[in-house]
């Protein structure tokens, strides 16, 4: 048998306010006999609540934020450092149309002279060289200081036609001095080279009289 539907306010069920619902009251009385009647809690003497300790997970969000900031700062520092170094190392390049320039000459002037050549009897058998080779090298190096690094230019060989090394402008007397130095240096290098060849030939000549080896007679 079904009782007719009725509108019952839930207020009594919710917070015991409003009109009491007799059915709920009856249930409360019946089930109230099962209610918790807590006996005093017996805490063993040995049992102590442990002190709050450092738990990593509590600081996880803060640690993550700190790590992210540190990474950003580190990355920015590295980037800035690299950029500064790059700016210092690379010559100032200017894009121009491909055309012959004086840079070839200046590059030739930047040939590194081996130390052996300058140390080995600088003035011997050469009247043209009135100054020692080391002085000439020093002079050429002085002019080189303001010029771009030739190693960088070599690394960028594919773009040689498009770019031109911007050479610093030299004063008239400096330019003359540099050219004279260059001429002297070239001469000194030629002399040194000739001497070296001669020495090699002498060394080879001592072992065999005939310089032509492994060659068949032609004709």
């Amino acid at each position: 048998m079904k009782k007719p539907m009725r509108n019952v306010s839930d207020d009594y069920l919710w917070d015991q306010s409003g009109e009491p619902d007799p059915e709920i009251q009856e249930l409360e009385q019946l089930l109230g006999t099962l209610r918790c009647q807590p006996r005093p809690l017996e805490i063993p003497a040995a049992l102590q609540p442990s002190r709050p300790r450092f738990v990593l997970r509590d600081f996880k969000p803060r640690l993550a934020i700190a790590a992210a900031i540190a990474l950003v700062v580190l990355g920015a520092g590295l980037w800035l450092g690299l950029a500064r170094r790059e700016r210092r190392d690379t010559p100032e390049l200017v894009k121009t149309a491909a055309k012959p320039s004086a840079s070839d000459d200046s590059r030739q002037a930047a040939v590194i002279v081996p130390e052996d050549v300058s140390h080995e009897n600088p003035n011997a058998g050469n009247e043209v060289l009135k100054e020692p080779v080391s002085v000439l090298v020093e002079r050429v190096n002085r002019t080189r200081r303001n010029r771009p690094n030739p190693t960088t230019v070599a690394a960028n060989a594919n773009r040689q036609r498009e770019i031109e090394l911007k050479t610093p402008e030299l004063a008239g007397n400096e330019l003359k001095e540099a050219q004279a130095g260059k001429a002297h240096l070239m001469l000194a290098l030629r002399v040194a080279s000739a001497k070296l060849n001669l020495a090699i030939k002498k060394a080879q000549g001592s072992t065999s009289g005939n310089l032509i080896h492994n060659q068949h007679k032609v004709g």
Binding site: W14, C36, P38
Partner: protein, 196 residues
């Protein structure tokens, strides 16, 4: 059998309840102070915490384990909670925390023990009223989880809806819905025309 009709606005909280809960939430919760005192070495304060939350733990256990086991289990749970109190991150969330421990402990209990023994023990002990109460409790236990726990806290432990919401960490609206639907199911299962 009753068919309960409740308009939708009944399921929502009325203005007075909202104000009451808001006022309550503005007050500093005494539980946090008690827990802090316990953590600082004042073990007596844990007794007060126990008396505040014992009905909650008992109700949660009653919805899941035999009545004869509920009290002992509740004591065990509170001792376990005391040992682990330092792991409680939010001092205001002691209720939801210990409630979860109680639910887990009830599951452990079922893994280790046989249910049938305790049920018969419950039914045969006590007078007619207690027997009737035990029968109704069994009917409530047959309801879905969300309803049986809320109904036991309301009808057995005598807690109001807002109290249940505060202690369990559920929203008041959820508690109200659970109470309403659970009660509807319970009425259907009891068949109130027979009388209690």
């Amino acid at each position: 059998m009753y068919e309960l009709e409740a308009p939708a606005d009944l399921l929502l909280m009325n203005g007075q309840s909202k104000v009451a809960i808001k006022q309550r939430s503005d007050e500093p919760p005494p539980e946090a102070l008690l827990i802090r005192a316990v953590l600082e070495g004042d073990r007596d304060q844990y007794g007060r915490l126990y008396s505040l939350y014992a009905p909650l733990v008992h109700g949660i256990l009653l919805a899941r384990v035999p009545r004869s086991e509920a009290e002992d289990l509740a004591q065990d749970i509170f001792l376990h909670a005391l040992r682990k109190l330092d792991t409680l991150r939010d001092l205001n969330a002691f209720g939801p925390w210990i409630g979860m421990i109680a639910r887990n402990r009830a599951m452990d209990f079922h893994r280790k023990s046989h249910e049938t023994v305790e049920v018969t023990e419950d039914l045969k002990s006590g007078d007619a009223t207690e027997t009737k109460a035990a029968e109704i409790l069994e009917i409530i236990r047959s309801l879905p989880d969300a309803y049986r726990e809320t109904l036991i806290l309301r009808l057995v432990e005598g807690m109001t809806g807002p109290e249940i919401a505060t202690r369990t960490g559920l929203t008041p609206a959820s508690v109200r819905v659970n109470l309403h639907r659970g009660m509807k199911l319970l009425r259907g299962k009891l068949g109130f025309e027979e009388g209690l």
